[in-house]
C-alpha cells in the first residue's frame, strides 16, 4: 500500500536541534570554558565569583533556569548529532536504527536529567 510513498525523515527535527546547539556552542562555549574551567579554578575570576550562594542565585533565577536548560540540553543535541554522523565516517552501519536511537536517546536523556535537576534546584 505504502510501498511507493516516500519515507518521512526525522532529519529536519534533529538538524534544527543540532543547529541551535551549534550556534550556542559557537557563541558561548569558549567564554564558558574560560570562566568555569580556567579563570574560576585558578582564581583569576576574582574572590567569590563561583561561590555556592552566588551561582545558586544566578542559576536558580527563572531566567537562569531556562538559560541553563537551553544551553546544556542543546549542547548535548549538537554533540550527539555530530557524533552519530561521525560514526558513519568511521564505517559504522548507521542506517541501523539502534545507533540513531542510542545517539539521540543520550541527548534526550541528558535533556530530561537537566530539566529534572533544574526543577528540584
Amino acid at each position: 500500500m505504502s510501498a511507493h510513498r516516500p519515507r518521512r525523515s526525522h532529519e529536519p527535527v534533529v538538524w534544527l536541534l543540532f543547529a541551535a546547539g551549534g550556534m550556542i556552542a559557537a557563541m558561548l562555549l569558549p567564554a564558558l570554558i574560560v570562566v568555569i574551567g580556567l579563570a574560576g579554578p585558578t582564581g583569576l575570576l576574582g574572590e567569590g565569583s563561583l561561590d555556592y550562594e552566588r551561582v545558586l542565585g544566578l542559576v536558580g533565577h527563572p531566567i537562569g533556569r531556562l538559560t541553563v536548560l537551553a544551553v546544556v540540553s542543546l549542547l548535548f543535541w549538537h554533540a550527539m548529532h555530530r557524533i552519530f554522523h561521525g560514526l558513519h565516517d568511521l564505517g559504522v552501519s548507521t542506517h541501523l536504527d539502534r545507533y540513531r536511537i542510542l545517539s539521540y536517546g543520550c541527548a534526550l536523556l541528558a535533556t530530561v536529567v537537566t530539566a529534572g535537576l533544574l526543577v528540584v534546584l
Partner: protein, 135 residues
C-alpha cells in the same frame, strides 16, 4: 563484519585515512570537536548536579575543576571550542538562506564578521556576568 559486506550499502573504508586530502582532515577535526563539546556539557551537568546536592558537593566540584589535570583538559576543551566557533561562523553564510538589503545580497564576509562581533560581545558579557562576584 559479514553484515557490512552483505547488506549492499555503502560503507566508508578506513584504509590509509592519513593519506587523505587535507580538507578531509579539517572536516574530521571539526566534527571531532563534538566529542569535546560533549565532555564540557557533561561537566556542566555534573556542576548542576553538585549545585542541587548542596554547598559541600559544590565545593567538591570546584575542587575537582582546579585539579591540574582538569585545568589541562579545560585548555584542550577551549582550543576545540574555539575551532568549532571559527568553523561554525565560516560556514554560516553557506548554511543560512541568502539575506538581502533592498535588492543587494549581503556578502559572505559581512555575515561572518557580524557573527564574530556577536561572539565577542557575548563572550565579554559572560565573563562580566560570572566574574567578580565580590566577597
Amino acid at each position: 563484519m559479514s553484515l557490512r559486506q552483505q547488506d549492499g550499502r555503502y560503507h566508508r573504508p578506513m584504509g590509509r585515512w592519513y593519506l587523505r586530502p587535507a580538507y578531509l582532515f579539517r572536516y574530521t577535526l571539526r566534527e571531532l570537536t563534538a566529542v569535546f563539546v560533549l565532555v564540557f556539557a557533561l561537566i556542566l551537568l555534573a556542576g548542576l548536579a553538585a549545585l542541587v546536592a548542596g554547598p559541600e558537593a559544590w565545593a567538591g566540584f570546584l575542587g575537582l575543576l582546579s585539579h591540574p589535570l582538569m585545568i589541562g583538559l579545560s585548555a584542550v576543551l577551549l582550543l576545540a571550542a574555539l575551532y568549532n566557533s571559527i568553523t561554525w561562523f565560516l560556514v554560516a553564510p553557506k548554511a543560512m538562506p541568502a539575506i538581502f538589503i533592498g535588492t543587494r545580497p549581503v556578502s559572505d564576509r559581512v555575515i561572518v564578521v557580524v557573527h564574530l562581533v556577536v561572539f565577542a560581545i557575548l563572550s565579554v558579557l559572560i565573563v562580566a556576568l560570572l566574574a567578580g562576584g565580590g566577597a
